[in-house]
Amino acid sequence: MSTINKWLKENTFHHSRFQNINDLIKEKEKQELSISLCIPTLNEEKTIGKEIVIFKSELITKYPLLDEIAVIDSGSTDNTRDVAGSFGADVYLAKEILPEVGAKKGKGENLWKAIYQLKGDIIVYIDADIKNIHPRFVYGLIGPLLYRKTIQYVKAFYERPLTTSHGVRPSGGGRVTEILVRPLFSLFFPELSALIQPLSGEYAVRRSLLEKIPFPIGYGVETSHLIDVYNMLGMEAIAQTDLDQRVHRNQQTRDLGRMAFGILQTVLSRMNSLGIISELPALNHTLRQFQTDDNIFETVEHNILEEERPPMIEIPAYREKMGYK
């Protein structure tokens, strides 16, 4: 697949290419762009403070690359909002943004509402559970957007920092990526399989694109974005940046099962609406997992409904805010 190799060569970056932040700021000013950082949270008091302190210091106070840092919270029951606020982030409760459309639960909901709430021409999304946070997580994703007009959506991937051996080594994503998403992409959207970590929660996107794509509110949001952007604009619009290592919470296989269930729903309904498969039966939204207690097996049922938010541009309040007619 020479197109995949060409894309890998031309649209895959390493964060170190963008480490001169002053150059990025010059580009940003020349193009008169504003940039917002959005961190979705649900009970992240352990890691959120560090993210805010480092991004604020390195990307606002010392180098004004970002115009705002916003935490959009799903109703944390720990001190997440206090911690974030005390270090100077703008803190919002997702359900208080655009109250007229109601509130749904899930990270995708927060990302979607950020489009309404934040002012940037570019929005950078960073998960709150990263332990080894560093400014590269942000500038590495912004860089490609500032240097190439055709790029609209930049996705993070994570490699081990330079190892001692220089030979070929396997490279890839986590368990859900390798067992579910990459095989699915290979079947139906082969070019998208070139994304090394399609599920990573860190990406930077131009508003002009963000406002036009729908947002599944839960686990399917990243996969759905890639399929939609690919269909609208092709691989040219997508890029990926190697951010080296990311240390975060490890997920149990059970949790990954729920995640896979949500992603599958999203992909199937996308394929249906794109006409790739026809006549999708009504999907069941209950995932059953099992547990045993002294040889008695019990069912644990999870109701996982991947609801979807329409493109933000269809919301009247947003059109009004942006002055679109």
Partner: protein, 400 residues
Amino acid sequence: MQADDSMKKNIWNLDEIVEKLPEYIETLKEVSEVLLSNLIMAGEIPAPTFKESKRVEFILDRFTEAELQNSSTDEVGNAVAILPGAEGKENILIVAHTDTLYSEKVDHTLTIQPNFVIGPGVGDNSLGLAVIMTLPFILEHLGITLDSNLILLAASRSLGRGDLEGLRFFLSNTDIPIIAGVSIEGVQLGRLSYSSIGMIRGEISCTVPEEYDWSRFGSVGSIVTINEVINQILEIPIPKRPKTTIVFNSIESGTGKFSKIPKSAFLRFEIRSESDDMVHEIYQRIEDITADISYRSGDEVSLTIYSKRRPGGIEFSHPLTRNVRSIMRSLRIKPRISPSTSELSAFIDQKIPAITLGITKGDRLDDDRESIEIEPIFTGLAQLVALLLAIDGGQCVDNK
């Protein structure tokens, strides 16, 4: 002429400096994230003594970023840079050690809460390092340009076997004359050390020979021998004056199993005294004891010195200490005056007046749940800035 004089805004007396401090504290809070960011990024890089190079590299990047002069490292792995003063006739050295007590295997993640930062080494001495890295930014933000050059030194190989190698190396190899040294420790706020006591730190090791006669009756094994060593050390007469102590810091032997006879034992000790002669006299006695026991027991008993400090320092009434005390008083910091066994002794050997200051309150030191408080940091920084202004204004020179 007159215009020149009015430009030299730093020739303030202490009262004028002190008057500015409440305002400084508020201004410093505005940029707290810069200090905390340096604290976290440097503190999360493991730096056990002798393996500090990654952390030092980060510090050098920061020095370069701040556009300091002569940002460089040396044979022993120090990071040093100069913030040039307006006149540059004199030089003040400010130092913090880079190494920690934690091996690289320990999880170095720091956690930040609204008023605390928690994690291994956060107070000792990641905060001290953060202060050094952030100082150029802090001074700029406060609108302060010193007349003197400020030499920023992140000193390597300070703790344990490192024995202040970094600072010693710098002081004995630099040709820059230094008018005063300030050593920064993250904790505790109020710490004021201006003199060092004499000290020797050492380890006695005792090894039972392989061809040992295990059928021998009576008490056997290395614990018995090391016990004999301890008994005899306790017989050494200790004078009341000059103040002198022998501390047994740690003892190690045996495997925790009943069936094994311990073959080696290690005893770490410290001799401290106001008098250098007394330190050496006691050391001599311990040397004799180990030789004697080695000879009589047939075990191999040997003695190694880890580090040595000569007593000395400036007087309580030296203008440097006096000014620090007034600054602390004005900030309502309760001084905790204690002799130092660390950085100061390297300054003392070079006859440079120096003191050690702490920056904030901390808890659970020596533990990977070590924590520091954020709020007092600003007072600690104001104290440091005031002291630098006082030194810069020529107010800490002893004219006697």
